[in-house]
Symmetry: C2
Subunit: 513 residues, 2 copies
């Protein structure tokens, strides 16, 4: 059996060390494509470590595409022939302890534990509507907010962040300090890309936590990713053809449509965007979320990432927009290396946002431009004023600098992890369980619930809505060739309150017959 020594683990945790050892063996071809790895239990026993340690290492390797699992058969080495053994990123990956976010790696092994009630739970949001994630949503009055007060409803489509997750006390303290100490900076126009202090903080954070090395001037701040998309169209060209994932986050396709640029919808296979279809589409720019696809939850494996970079490198003017919108909320293992960090050809534009990690109502996002695009941005678009208020830019810079952001992220991960586990264990313990399969639950703030039912997806959603539960079917997110019946539903649990869980499950049970 495969054996590794832990004597040279250095400052790495056992899980990190094991992950690296296996990965290096795969990269060095000591472990070959298709080779079966030891079962978690026997491997743990053999190495003298706990099962959970092996689980975590395997989960990380699966999410990065080095391993794949076959239910009831075990874990196997992926075909990484696209990936050269000396792959740059393997030296770059910054492994940090995310132990609080890593509890279990086996994708279906949820036990019906009793979870302590979340003492902090109070009467929270009154069923906010998640405009962001609901296809075709229209607000004709213009006055009903996404946090409007319609009939009481459990909402599994909302991207609304939870009040208890905003760090009000530390934020208030920092705002007070900034308003006292930084008055001159606050009223001084920042560069078009945003406040330098903030961009430098973000660059440091990305280096420490995401293995991304960039100069602050490559980072461009904007009031939400939607605004940044619009800037990118101006930067890359209205005459370019843009490609989006199908199914996908429909707002992105809509933004391209509203800007009257050509937009192609590229189908996905089990590894993400299909390269042949992409090639055939004639697209110049691919917009995707490789870390965690919405709504399928897919994580694009490393091999496909290289394939996509290869596609971009094959022609001038091709670019990849890597939308890393919720990479901070991976539940198992380390975040996968961003495509940005393994891109040596200046092809990847990385986008991320604080609207997921801080509050959806704090409009601070950023993009990282490859150097030659950053130059073009300053040459052609620097007449634009930065759209984010200085007040929030300076506050956020201090929030990152003094370590509060890291602490906050850890707290958020634990919170969502706990909530996800609670929801899944309640499903497992319910009458829904025999008819439910849970998929892609290891990243982000949603998972896929596959339900056995004789009804169409639309019928299920309508029945649920009538009973007071808002849930979206995966089939609703296809841009073309919509399958009518897939029986896969998107469970966005970020706005779900603990006391709503049993009711939500009961309604789902009633809605599938």
């Amino acid at each position: 059996m495969l054996t590794y020594s832990f004597s040279d683990a250095g400052s790495d945790s056992l899980y990190q060390h094991l992950y690296k050892c296996i990965k290096n063996d795969i990269l060095a071809r000591n472990l070959r494509a298709g080779e079966k790895l030891p079962s978690k239990r026997s491997f743990a026993k053999n190495l003298g470590i706990s099962v959970i340690t092996v689980e975590n290492a395997y989960a990380q390797l699966i999410s990065e595409g080095y391993l794949y699992s076959v239910p009831k058969k075990g874990f196997f080495v992926s075909d990484i022939s696209m990936l050269p053994p000396e792959a740059a990123f393997s030296q770059n990956v910054s492994i940090r302890s995310l132990s609080d976010a890593i509890k279990r790696a086996d994708m279906t092994d949820y036990t019906e534990k009793a979870y302590p009630a979340d003492a902090g739970e109070t009467a929270g949001l009154a069923s906010p509507f998640g405009a962001a994630h609901l296809p075709g949503k229209i607000d004709p009055a213009g006055l009903v907010g996404t946090g409007g007060n319609l009939a009481p409803l459990i909402d599994l489509t909302s991207n609304q962040t939870d009040i208890r997750n905003f760090p009000f006390s530390i934020w208030a303290k920092l705002v007070r300090e900034i308003l006292n100490e930084n008055q001159q900076e606050l009223v001084t126009n920042p560069p078009c890309g945003g406040v330098l202090k903030l961009r430098a903080s973000i660059a440091r954070h990305l280096k420490d936590f995401r293995g991304i090395s960039v100069a602050p001037e490559q980072i461009i701040m904007g009031a939400g990713t939607e605004y940044l998309y619009s800037l990118l169209i101006q930067l890359l060209g209205f005459d370019k053809t843009y490609a989006v994932e199908d199914p996908g986050y429909q707002k992105i396709a809509r933004i391209y449509e509203k800007h009257k640029v050509a937009c192609r919808h590229i189908p996905l296979d089990e590894s993400g965007v299909c390269v042949p279809a992409l090639e055939e589409s004639g697209a110049d720019v691919l917009h995707l979320s490789p870390s965690h696809h919405f709504p399928t939850g897919l994580v694009t494996p490393i091999s496909r990432r290289y394939e996509l970079l290869g596609w971009a490198a094959r022609a001038e003017g091709r670019y990849i927009i890597e939308d890393d919108y919720d990479s901070e909320f991976r539940m198992s293992g380390n975040p996968i290396p961003a495509m940005q960090s393994i891109d040596l050809s200046e092809k990847v534009i990385y986008i991320n946002t604080f609207t997921k990690t801080l509050a959806s109502t704090v409009r601070i996002s950023y993009m990282i431009l490859p150097r030659h695009l950053a130059d073009r941005f300053y040459r052609e678009l620097s007449f634009y004023s930065c759209t984010v208020s200085n007040f929030e830019q300076y506050t956020l810079a201090r929030f990152i600098e003094n370590g509060s952001f890291e602490k906050h992220l850890n707290r958020m991960r634990s919170y969502y992890h706990r909530k996800r586990d609670l929801l899944i264990s309640r499903i497992r313990g319910s009458e829904l369980n025999p008819r439910a399969v849970i998929r892609e639950e290891n990243a982000g703030l949603h998972f896929i619930l596959e339900l056995q039912t004789g009804l169409s997806d639309k019928e299920v959603c309508e029945q649920a809505l009538q009973k007071g539960l808002k849930i979206a079917a995966l089939s609703g997110f296809y841009l073309r060739d919509t399958p009518e019946i897939e029986h896969r539903f998107v469970v966005n649990y970020s706005a779900l309150r603990e006391e709503q869980i049993d009711e939500a499950i009961r309604i789902l049970c009633e809605s599938i017959d």
Copy 2:
């Protein structure tokens, strides 16, 4: 001589009453086009009121286009034949006391008074660069802000607001309150148009201070006017032809250009946008600043406003974007009725911003859509998230609601008024005076300085820059057919510090020989 009774002035001030009486006589054709009005002194004596009261009323009537003045000849009634006597707006104008902003109305009658030094003046901004107002400005490094710290320089091109004008203490208090009391609202997604409370506050403010009656849902918040322009292109159409003023605020033309929409440059005459040229251009949408044109300082008189509304009404799909960016800073008389408030055909989109009144680094602007366009906005663009942070929207709403905004505006007006008077009186008392004419100094934060010189505009600007003074020539703002020599320079005094005034004048003197 013209005589009015003040017995029925009601709650109006004397100036307001006199203004209304004369306006009503002009509208009723009791006073005819070309008719000479009494001199200020004799009119005041005859009515038993002070000269300043007559001055204020005349200044208001001039700025609204009802009167015009001929230097050394007196005041005359304008030709308002375009304006029906029952004009809707005449009932609507909300006259409020702006007495602190009204000091003198005669446009050229500046005496060399000694002004008390501004006790609040401290070492303020270190020569910020005004990216906004400088044609062709590029920031290749992306790191030098518009408040960068290049060589010490007096900057007469900057739109940078002054640190002493931001109401830090009240703002800090309100932020504290909001963070304590409104946590739920702060993290709840607002409607796509923005926080309702803020939009309602703005609607009330507009009604009270600008004579504009709108429903809150017609108001759409955005992170800066530039962002709103981009939304408007999406709303009105990429296939439409847009028209901008020439000369004009170059950023606007650039934004249209960057969105790849057709953009025509319309020449101005002494009343603003030339209607025949506009008609000939084939434009669908006219973007203008009738309250205070940048850089000429022109105020579009009421007759031209009606002509432009007539142009818009003549064809479906024609619209007027009324950019009211600094209407709050008129120095004499009441703001002119906005085109929005006299538009009965739903043709005017009104845009205004808090970046001028509060701080250029607070990115809060808004637009008012006519009802049918608001409907279209909610139908087609409501998937966009509002780009302004909730935190600042709620703070600003409270700032307006509790009267702080009104107080702040009054303080700002006095401050800029004092600064303008000081600058002008120093010019009058200097060796520059015999070679200088000051124009259009009654509105906004800049005026035009016409200088007698044998040099070209470019040579003057270059000489000044070498000596440490940054000033822009009006001729630099023409989009086409740029006149090489006009000898008119744009003096933006918002960022000028008192202790820089004499030095600025000295450099100007040296730069014109």
